[in-house]
């Protein structure tokens, strides 16, 4: 199954390259390459965000000694352990930055930067970018591996001290994580528009990642339970809590996205508003996406998840989880693609194919990582608490 998925993914990605490369306006190949690179980054960040969200979730559960989540935490650990494999998919970008002077993705990746970018050359240059990316991945992969391997060891020994050990490290790790995800967002995503900057950008990426992760967690639990796994371990109370997080991060995403917008709207400084200029003040369709995001990423799911009856209702929750996964993809596309220049209709097909390809590969990683692994941290001392957990009825 993973092999099939990888094959499907690879074929889709190749098709995506092909579509972008061949269907360019007036044979302008550079345009196609530019779009494909942006599309690749979008889909890459999409799949990476599950792992990033899962890693934060796991760390924060240990940090605050949470009992309710002990039964679903292993799933999050598995998702976080896809991060090393996802790092491999980042190699094309590293190679592009190190080996070429292509500005098809990062406009600073040139020998002759001009204007503001020239002033940022000390930070935004190929080798330093690669080194920083390495550090980010070391933090992500290191934390994920540390938690996962210790948790697996607990499966064997049942030693409660292991929980205390992860707990002790989770605080420092979460600080490293916060720095890493913030700067990774700056480098990987924000620097495609190297003139522009927003200090809250990392938080926006983080909010989207958490939302995507919780949605995927809810869907995974439901699919596993339908197939007879985890039946006794994940109760409606767990779903309710996951849904509460989804609800909260819907709000949080809107909060941070609007914070960025409000400040730039109010300041009205050209070098800051340029980012919105090409997104909501043009006639190339992106303004519609902005409105769709406002409603589909915030207003509608906010109202949809407002009721506890929906949050405790399996089908309802499944629906909103799928909805938010799609909304998250649109969100990342909105963050990245407008910088890719004009969009041909066949480019969009390419983008969709790239999405299918990347998600297939991600699912393959997920399956690969969950083979022969207990889906619940069975001997975690907090599992009984999770099973007897009830939400207070309010």
């Amino acid at each position: 199954m993973p092999a099939v998925l990888v094959a499907v993914g690879a074929v889709c990605l190749l098709l995506s390259v092909g579509l972008c490369f061949l269907n360019t306006h007036e044979g302008n190949r550079a345009e196609g390459v530019q779009f494909f690179m942006h599309s690749y980054l979008t889909n890459y960040m999409y799949c990476l965000s599950f792992g990033l969200g899962a890693l934060f979730f796991v760390l924060v559960q240990f940090l605050c000694r949470a009992g309710w989540s002990a039964s679903v935490r292993r799933l999050a650990e598995i998702m976080a352990s896809t991060l090393p494999l996802m790092a491999i998919l980042f190699l094309p970008i590293i190679v592009m930055v190190l080996m070429t002077n292509s500005v098809s993705l990062y406009e600073w990746n040139t020998d002759k930067p001009e204007g503001l970018i020239a002033a940022k050359k000390g930070f935004l240059n190929g080798p330093f970018f690669a080194v920083r990316s390495l550090v980010y991945f070391l933090v992500f992969i290191g934390s994920a591996y540390f938690v996962y391997s210790n948790s697996r060891r607990q499966d064997e020994s049942g030693d409660a001290k292991i929980t205390l050990k992860i707990q002790a490290f989770s605080g420092p790790l979460i600080m490293l994580y916060a720095l890493a995800i913030s700067f990774a967002s700056f480098d990987w995503v924000m620097s495609i528009d190297a003139d522009w900057y927003s200090t809250i950008f990392g938080v926006i990426i983080f909010a989207g990642s958490m939302l995507a992760f919780f949605s995927l967690l809810a869907i995974s639990c439901m699919l596993l339970q339908r197939n007879g796994k985890l039946v006794k371990y994940v109760t409606v109370e767990n779903y309710h809590d996951i849904a509460k997080f989804m609800f909260g991060f819907v709000m949080f995403w809107a909060y941070v996205s609007f914070s960025q917008y409000l400040l730039y709207w109010y300041g009205d400084i050209p070098e800051e508003t340029i980012w919105y200029q090409i997104r909501i003040n043009t006639d190339n369709g992106w303004p519609y996406i902005a409105v769709i995001l406002l409603f589909c990423h915030f207003v509608i799911p906010f109202l949809g998840l407002l009721s506890r009856h929906v949050r405790r209702h399996r089908t309802g929750l499944f629906f909103w989880a799928c909805w938010l996964l799609i909304a998250h993809w649109i969100d990342l596309s909105f963050l990245i693609l407008p910088n890719a220049g004009p969009v041909e209709s066949m480019f969009l097909v390419g983008h969709l194919l790239g999405f299918i390809g990347m998600v297939s590969i991600f699912l393959a990683m997920l399956l690969l990582k969950s083979i022969n692994v207990p889906l619940v941290a069975v001997r975690d001392p907090r599992v009984p608490e999770a099973l007897s957990y009830h939400n207070i009825i309010v």
Partner: protein, 518 residues
Amino acid sequence: MAHKHKTKKEPAAPKSFGWMAEFVDEQQLLVAARKLRDSGYTKTDAFTPFPVHGIDEALGIKPTILPFIVLCAGMTGTCTALLLEWYTNAFDYPYIISGKPFASWPAFIPVSFELTILFSAFTTFLGMLALNGLPKFSNPVFTNPRFDRATNDRFFLYVDSKDRYYNRDAVHKLLKDTHPESLEEVLEDESSADIPQPIWMGITTLAIFSLIPLAAIYLIRESRSEEPRFHIFLDMDFQPKKKSQQTTTIFADGRVTRPQVAGTIARGQYAPTGSYYLGYDPEKVASLESAKATRFVTLGQPPAETAGSPEEGTPPAPQEPAPTAPAAEAKPTGTPATTPAPAAPTATEATPATEPAPAQPPAADAAKPADAAAPAAAPATATGEVNLDTLPWLTDFPEGVATEANMARGKQRFEIYCGACHGITGDGNGLVAGRAAELAQGYWTPPTSLHDAKIRQQPVGRIFHTITNGKGKMGGYSSQINAEDRWAIALYVRALQRSRNAKIEDVPEGERAALGNP
């Protein structure tokens, strides 16, 4: 126990409020609670030292309607904020802030968000109190001292006698079967259910005291008095500083406004002389016309030393020549450039004074040619107006101005300071001009196009002078832009002008081919 069988008619008889069972752990409590629930009792309650998972479900507590109340309150908060902001900003008192529209929805959202939270939080708290029937100053369950352990290590289950299915003996039996640690009837509390008197007195006292500030404010606002206003905060009305024309004890002479310290130049009063800062050659001016010469040269000089120093309380004013006589015949032996600039400028006679204004001790008594004496003698200069067209402007840039770096600097400064009105290309069609023309208010003077023949023919010194001192509605820029940059801008303006009228000879030999036209 004997009391229980007494009837209600006897006032002293304690009334039964229900049964209270005590358990040693929460599992027993949950079992008993489920049993009660399954028997149909609804007016039940549990008291535990910590939150017990599942107790709501075990007691059969229905979800509360509080969330819906809070939702409504939250939406009320949102609407209140939006309405308030729209009313104040866009309707009642429209005021342009940061060039934004009156009804700026993005700016309204933070306040709406906060007010939503505020209304929701208050409603949650007050609604919780109201739905629980709180505050309640007395509860019969407290009559039993055993109940104190509900906050310590015991778990209590209570069945209220007001329950629909309440039957004293049946409930007793039911609870007895759950093997409680103890099972006792809750009897009437002898204390009154009213709010205790000290609390009433406290509330009343507070209420009365809280009226005092209000009454004071009302009194101050409504009464008339000769006395200065009563100030709680002095910050704005009485500031610890002195204003001009006031007196002080800090300095011996009692003056607040200090005379300028000798040998210093006040901020903004530094007026460097020399053609580099003036745009024209002051020495040539001197050779042209004595009157103008004196005026311009003295303008460029620091105030001359006033010999008749105001030492002995002689105020400076009397030194000014009194407008005594039209004494036009008074041959000026000395040039008038002796007193500080304002008094000097209008020398009235046409006699060429070649030596430019040596500082002479003013004769305090002298009937100087007065300002008022001038009009007939020298109409052109008496008003202080200067004919700019005849000034000896610099026609070439000063040494070191015409450089490549200065051209780039001038372009940048021009686009920052001048482009807004004159346009980036100097056509007089900048953003401000366009905006003003759009408003069509009628009193807008359009900026001059720098490509006008009139402007093109102006010497560079005059362009520099215009940048420095302004022209018409345009203000001078000497305070924002230093002289080096003003020259750089003048250089760039020249380049702009030339770009419109370039000949092929102006293009370097090597680059003519690039233009395409042979």
